[in-house]
Amino acid sequence: MSDTVLRIEGLEKSFGELEVLKGIDLEIRKGEVVCIIGSSGSGKSTLLRCINLLEEADAGHIWFDGQDLMDLQVDLNALRQKIGMVFQSFNLFNNKNVIDNCTLAPMTVRKISKAQAEEAAVRNLTTVGLADFIYADSTRLSGGQKQRVAIARALCMEPEIMLFDEPTSALDPEIVGEVLDVMKALAAEGMTMVVVTHEMAFAKEVSDRVVFMDQGVILEQGDPNEIFTNPKNDRTREFLSRYLEDKQI
């Protein structure tokens, strides 16, 4: 398939005795929004972190851009700049203000001029609705604002795919919406996205495919309507029923 952006084959990862990923196969197509759901400790975040090698997997292949990221000879930094990542805890650079957070990597990695980098930063910050906070101190923003800056920062590298690691889990319920709205807009623009999330409503509404993970394996995946209304796997049904009771999605 030519429109595959990312293909994961037989990915395995252990932390000491604990087997976190037990052979994951996953394919992400261009423009697709894939939500990974599952209970805590099921390996969702680890899978995401293995994709851009923040965790080094023990075995398997990660095909991206015609290269295997698990190959030790591969230029990791060159590939990483095309894979945007948004973290649960935002991880804005504390020593930089908002715009410098966005321009640092484009200027040091892609070696583009300051003017160009700033232009792109302002454009992306405007997209995420932070045009008024361009020169703000990044440590003084609210959680929702920080996460939107983090998204803008990742966008400034013009990635081919964006990974979201529980982007709203550290936010209080009232401001979850502002981050999800930005993500929805991004999805609508055709960005390829892999989202680890507990926001079932978001997963149902926005994603093209939902992946349910449990104890280090993918138990079920498919169309969100299919999964949320008629899950085939017992474990999936059990997991979702708890959410459906609480949230009435």
Binding site: N52, L54, E56, L72, L76, N77, A78, L79, R80, Q81, K82, I83, G84, M85, F87, S89, F90, N91, L92, F93, N94, N95, L104, A105, T108, V109, A150, R153, A154, M157
Partner: protein, 297 residues
């Protein structure tokens, strides 16, 4: 009602204490001025403890001023040089061989990290007095081999220069550990975010981690400066004309020890106190936490 009465009583007590304190201060001031006036005209060390302190301080003031100035320079320059060296050394210290590095790079990183470890291990594990003597004689012998005369060597490898080297190289070890602590205190997420954007390890260190680590370390670097004010006193063994050496000299001239060492203690106390005030002020300006006068190592 009762509480109010208590408050009033407390207020009166406080006022009385203030008045008493100020009166005491004025009295001390007058006594001090008087002693200074008397001592200035004396040509013999007076018997009274306080008067002898004042007498020797006045007579030896040129030496003591040189001493204070040398001590301040040693601490200031020593800490500044050490800071620069520590930044280099801590960079070596935090190198970790990675699975994806080439074999040569792995070996280099191992070497760099272990060199830094060894340096810190040796310097922190030996007294500065011994280091001072070793550095001094090492330099002396080195220059001697080039065929220089003793006068020439004393000019190039002076007591002050070798003393400054000692302070700087000693502090480098401590500041390396201070900076390493500062680096470890930077959240791992900062590194992960930078790496996820495609920045190299070196770029991440330089642009993201180091600036934050240095900021974290500033209070501890100030402490190291204060420690150096006090600990540079051991350099008097190689003949650096610091405050300690000056005190010893004055004591030797006027045959009185306890009095002049008390003066030295007071001068050191004033130096460290002023420095900690200065650091507190700087810390406030830079919006950073500050600690009191630290203990020596």
């Amino acid at each position: 009602m009762k509480k109010e009465a208590n408050n009033n009583r407390l207020r009166i007590l406080k006022a009385a204490a203030w008045i008493a304190g100020i009166a005491l201060l004025i009295w001390c001031g007058i006594r001090f001025a008087e002693t200074v006036r008397v001592c200035r005209d004396l040509d013999k060390n007076p018997q009274s403890f306080g008067a002898s302190m004042v007498y020797m301080t006045l007579k030896g003031k040129d030496m003591l001023i040189t001493g204070v100035w040398t001590t301040v320079r040693l601490a200031l320059l020593g800490t500044a040089i050490a800071f620069v060296l520590a930044i280099l050394l801590v960079f070596l210290r935090v190198q970790e061989p990675n699975k994806r590095d080439k074999e040569a790079v792995k070996a280099l990183k191992w070497l760099a990290s272990h060199f830094a470890r060894l340096y810190v291990f040796v310097i922190r594990g030996t007294p500065m007095m011994v280091q001072a003597l070793i550095f001094y004689y090492f330099g002396f012998n080195l220059f001697k081999r080039t065929g220089m005369t003793v006068t020439e060597i004393n000019h190039v490898w002076s007591f002050f220069i070798s003393g400054l080297c000692t302070v700087a190289l000693n502090s480098t070890a401590y500041l390396t550990e201070v900076l390493r602590g500062g680096i470890l205190a930077v959240d791992r997420g900062q590194t992960e975010a930078a790496r996820s954007l495609g920045m190299t390890n070196w770029q991440t260190m330089l642009k993201v981690v180091f600036p934050q680590a240095v900021k974290n370390s500033i209070p501890a670097i100030g402490n190291e400066f204060i420690i150096n004010i006090k600990d540079s006193s051991v350099l008097s063994v190689i003949g650096v004309m610091d405050l300690m050496y000056a005190t010893k000299s004055v004591s030797g001239i006027y045959f009185r020890s306890l009095e002049i060492y008390c003066v030295a203690a007071l001068l050191y106390l004033v130096l460290t106190w002023l420095s900690s005030l200065l650091l507190k002020w700087l810390g406030k300006k830079l919006d950073m936490p500050v600690r009191g006068i630290p203990s020596s190592n």
